[in-house]
Symmetry: C2
Subunit: 180 residues, 2 copies
DNA sequence: CAGGATTATTTTACGAGTGAAACACTTGCT
DNA sequence: AGCAAGTGTTTCACTCGTAAAATAATCCTG
């Protein structure tokens, strides 16, 4: 399917070529941000595509699975608002996703008695089982993807990304008040 | 919701906390993929949010700007199909975006005379000006975000991401026929 | 040189996400 | 107590993206 040119198996990633094109069109422009940010975006797109494909048979969206995972790892009921903040999503989106998850009997809703505005969401047994089955599966396939990288490079990548993310949370995250 | 310690300004990124939660719930599970992939996804989300905000005043979507940029850096007319592959998007999405860009007189369409199925798209003068004004702007703000990282860390990050992307293009990209 | 296979692009029908307004409560002020 | 202000969640109207079907042209191949 790819016998293009006398090209080596995998010499360059897509972004390298993109940067070369820009350099020819705008010589002298500092393209470093593309080398970092463009690659992050492409990697994210590919990885999300892979995750979506893996969740499709379970009839779950990545965003829905994110909710299940957030409930699972928190180990206690969360309110809709907490889920909104934890999953970095809009309130409207969370409402819709919760409706679907409730319809499929994966999460349950309990109205707070003190303050009847707030809803506490919990995983049902089915929801917990689904999460507990799906997460390790997901991690295995992801680890398989990453295994093509030498372990010390994976580790370095994680460290550098942590630095960057911390930085971005500081400079961009202000509005979204990511309440940790 | 988080009684963690006399919290320092920015000691940990969000993902570190998420990993700690998982470790408590599923001890023994290998969470390394979260450290890499989870962080890539979060970084991408934040960076895209920043880019969207910056493009809003220009009345452009990030995806639309991606089309303009692709045409600009290619330096020649591209067909709709080429744009589809280059921008990593679905055909339908490209059709819609091109319609909008044509309506705003940013790109022009010319039907190929040999094969009247194919459309060649070009930037108009306005489109080129917009791209030439917006890209450096974008790069400057992105460089400003990254400038919080030591230069050698930025470089290392770009290198490691290039390795990863190359790997992912090999293992995931098969379907999407990225004909380069 | 006719008619099916192939290719390039658009249309259609629909699902998912969004911001703003609405709704449903509780809190605090007087 | 009464009511304005505040808070948590849902609804509404809309945009954007997608997969699959439709359209439109070209390429074979006998």
């Amino acid at each position: 399917m790819s016998e293009r040119a006398p090209e080596q198996p995998g010499r360059e990633d897509i972004v390298t070529g993109i940067m070369r094109q820009w350099q020819q069109v705008h010589p002298g422009l500092d393209l470093e941000p593309i080398g970092v940010i463009g690659r992050i975006n492409r990697c994210a797109a590919l990885l999300q595509q892979a995750a979506d494909a893996q969740l499709r048979p379970q009839q779950l969206t990545r965003a829905e699975f994110d909710l299940l995972g957030t409930l699972r790892r928190s180990g206690r009921p969360l309110t809709a608002g907490e889920l909104t903040r934890e999953t970095f999503a809009s309130g409207a989106a969370v409402t819709k996703r919760l409706r679907r998850l409730e319809q499929h009997d994966l999460v349950e809703r309990r109205i707070d008695e003190r303050d009847r505005r707030v809803a506490h969401l919990t995983l049902t047994d089915a929801g917990r089982e689904l999460a507990d089955h799906t997460l390790p599966d997901q991690l295995n396939r992801e680890q398989a993807l990453l295994s093509g990288l030498p372990p010390e490079h994976r580790e370095q990548l994680a460290e550098r990304l942590a630095e960057l993310l911390l930085l971005l949370e500081g400079s961009i995250g202000q509005i979204s008040r990511a309440a940790n």
